[in-house]
């Protein structure tokens, strides 16, 4: 790998997809569906959200036409890459009755070799965070690991920030700095439409050789850096993370939790759209004859009553305790558990909350109440 950067013309983007597909990758990336930009298999550049952007605020998400033909002119949608690495529904194994006993047939289905197209820096960090959850402890999740080891990552640096973004606060963006095979910065300048490409790995270098690319000039790189820097100035939200773990630990009984509980619908949207939330449940099912059984793992949410059920009742019976669990896990206990925050500042939980509960606002309210009470002393 060299520090050399390349230029790919906008019109040659299809060739990048082709090169990846020829290498056996299933290319997945952003596409417009049901009024949102979601992640799904894309074969052609035409599948990308060409000329679309997203307008986001608390509880609000709208697609809007841009006045250009940008491929990555949006921020992030309701999907995240965890749906490919940590699938929402996964058969763990099947079991077959065998006389009195049974035989377990682990799911050894070959997982797809994905190439992720358009991974934002916050999303890269979300992947690193899930790596720590699933592949860095005493136990390894073989399903996650199999997918993760094979993945090819084409990152896209953000040149504009969304209304609910706060990656700068979480130090996770907007520029992708590590963990990618290729990182693109999309530049549209009058009639010019091109990508400045940074190569992160040998795999990335091999792919770039199969695509028409020319060396980037210092000027190209500088323009890219300026656009990324501009995005960093546009953050729609801000979260002060100073001593945040202890701030939340010492405020487990703060009245603010009661307040937010009166608004929270316990719908679990925030956990579904969150790129780091990893909780699951399992369902054990049998066929009608009772000779075959299967265990299926599904995404779960700490907002459900069942989540903490032990015989007799739920440990977290109140809405307040469930919201507190989610927020303190994300921003405080995650640090104790995995050595990093569980939040990357992507803003999805704010955008997709039907009642516009804002994680940055909740933390601010708790922090400010402490400052007020300190002053009052």
């Amino acid at each position: 790998m060299s520090d050399e950067q390349f230029i790919i013309e906008g019109t040659d983007f299809q060739k990048l997809l082709d090169a990846l597909r020829q290498q056996g990758y299933t290319t997945v990336g952003p596409t417009v569906r049901d009024g949102a930009i979601v992640y799904d298999e894309i074969a052609s550049v035409k599948d990308l959200p060409i000329g679309w952007t997203d307008e986001q605020d608390g509880g609000r998400y709208r697609l809007q036409k841009r006045n250009d033909q940008a491929l990555f002119g949006y921020v992030v949608g309701p999907h995240s890459w965890k749906k490919f690495l940590h699938p929402p529904v996964l058969s763990l194994w099947k079991a077959r009755k065998n006389g009195k006993s049974f035989e377990i047939l682990p799911n050894r289905n070959d997982s797809p070799r994905y190439a992720f197209i358009g991974v934002r820096s916050c999303e890269l960090h979300a992947i690193f965070i899930q790596d720590r959850v699933f592949t860095n402890g005493k136990f390894i999740d073989p399903h996650y690991q199999a997918r993760r080891q094979k993945v090819f990552i084409v990152a896209v640096n953000c040149v504009q920030a969304g209304g609910t973004c706060f990656c700068v606060s979480m130090k996770t963006g907007p520029k992708a700095t590590l963990g990618f095979d290729l990182a693109l910065t999309e530049i549209i300048d009058g009639q010019k439409h091109y990508f400045v490409v940074e190569v992160g790995t040998e795999k990335g270098a091999e792919i770039i050789q199969r695509v028409p690319a020319k060396p980037a000039q210092p000027n190209d790189i500088q323009i890219a850096e300026e656009r990324i820097a501009r995005a960093a100035q546009q953050m729609g939200r801000h979260l002060d993370t100073t001593d945040i773990k202890n701030l939340l630990y010492r405020n487990l009984e703060h009245p603010r939790w009661d307040e937010v509980a009166t608004r929270c619908l316990n719908c679990a949207n925030c956990t579904m759209v969150c790129p780091t939330c990893f909780c699951t449940t399992v369902e054990d099912v049998t066929d009608l004859t009772g000779t075959e059984a299967e265990r299926v793992r599904k995404w779960d949410s700490c907002f459900t009553m069942d989540f903490s059920y032990i015989h007799g009742g739920s440990v977290r019976a109140s809405a307040k305790s469930r919201y507190r669990q989610w927020l303190t896990h994300k921003l405080a206990s995650w640090i104790d558990q995995f050595g990093t925050s569980g939040c990357v500042g992507c803003g999805r939980c704010i955008t997709w909350c039907p009642v516009a509960i804002d994680i940055t606002e909740e933390v601010r309210a708790i922090r400010e109440s402490e400052q007020v009470s300190k002053k009052g002393e």
């Binding site: 377990i104 136990f139 999740d141 130090k171 049998t286 009772g290 059920y309 440990v315 925050s341």
Partner: protein, 301 residues
């Protein structure tokens, strides 16, 4: 900022979510709703030629007192159940199960030679090694005696390594007591103080103490400066037990408790068993009390 970690490369065959079939050797009724099962690894499990070896992937696995297994009943589901047998005899896996839900009810209805899936053992253990040389006071409530029994076996197997040993056990009624025969055997020994109490009883069915288990603590013989306390029962019972132990001048770092939470995976992936920063499945179930003191008094953590 998250820092990238290189995903470890391991063989994908060792899937910790895949249970191993065990055969039911014996089922004993402890109380009207609680049963003790003895299980043995199937020789044919997964075609392992000889499961009678300890270690990962083999049928028989050594366990430490206080650890638990996930028990799977074909097509019904899986539940975490603490191991209640003798750690010196891991070839017979012993579990005491109270029928409180769909899976546990089905497990309690198992008959000899039927098959149950086992994953484990998981979790932290009672500090039987750290406590060598100390007096031991064990306080159990209800089915909380089950996770403590392996520790009791260990203490009795290594009796000379410990000072005085007191077992204080409370149950709702005499009918709700586990391991009655063993309790009376232990009572007959000269080297362990056994005090048992029930909430209420008729004089014709019960000759022992009546009162809550916390009232036994003032009667236990131990030297507070050199004592380790092992406590297991419902959280509210443990809370009041800790208060009494503190009155006897035990420090929080001398007290160990065993926590219970919902669990789906037992390996830290499903998130259900979180207790503040802890995963009860891997950081617990046994915690030194000072490590969880801040959470223990808080509601709905």
């Amino acid at each position: 900022m998250a820092v990238a970690v290189k995903p470890q490369t391991i063989e994908i065959s060792a899937d910790p979510m895949v249970p191993v079939p065990y055969r039911v050797l014996r089922v004993r009724r402890e109380t009207p709703d609680t049963f003790t099962l003895e299980l043995e690894a199937l020789t044919s499990a997964f075609g392992h030629p000889s499961p009678v070896q300890t270690g990962e992937g083999s049928g028989v696995r050594a366990f430490a007192p206080g650890q638990f297994n996930m028990l799977y009943l074909f097509g019904v589901g899986e539940v975490p159940i603490s191991i209640s047998g003798d750690p010196a005899q891991p070839e017979v896996l012993v579990h005491t199960v109270r029928a409180v839900g769909a899976v546990t009810r089905a497990i309690c209805a198992l008959k000899r030679d039927e098959i149950v899936g086992v994953r484990g053992p998981f979790g932290s253990a009672w500090p039987v090694a750290e406590a060598v040389g100390n007096d031991i006071v064990i306080v159990a409530g209800g089915v909380g005696l089950a996770p403590l029994r392996p520790a009791i076996y260990h203490l009795l197997n290594h009796r000379h390594e410990y000072g005085r040993v007191a077992l204080l056990y409370g149950a709702r009624t005499p009918k709700d007591m586990l391991y009655k025969r063993e309790l009376s055997e232990w009572r007959g020994r000269f080297d362990i103080q056994v005090e048992v109490t029930v909430d209420a009883a008729r004089p014709d069915e019960w000759r022992g103490n009546v009162g809550v288990v916390t009232t036994l603590i003032s009667r236990a013989n131990f030297d507070p400066f050199h004592t380790t306390a092992l406590v297991c029962g419902p959280e509210v019972m443990m809370r009041f037990t800790i208060l009494e132990l503190q009155k006897r001048e035990l420090r929080d770092d001398q007290i160990y408790i065993s926590m219970e939470r919902n669990m789906k995976c037992a390996i830290g992936f499903c998130g259900h068993c979180q207790y503040g920063p802890n995963f009860v499945c891997k950081d617990g179930p046994v915690f030194r009390f000072d490590k969880v003191r801040e959470l223990f008094g808080k509601r709905e953590i």
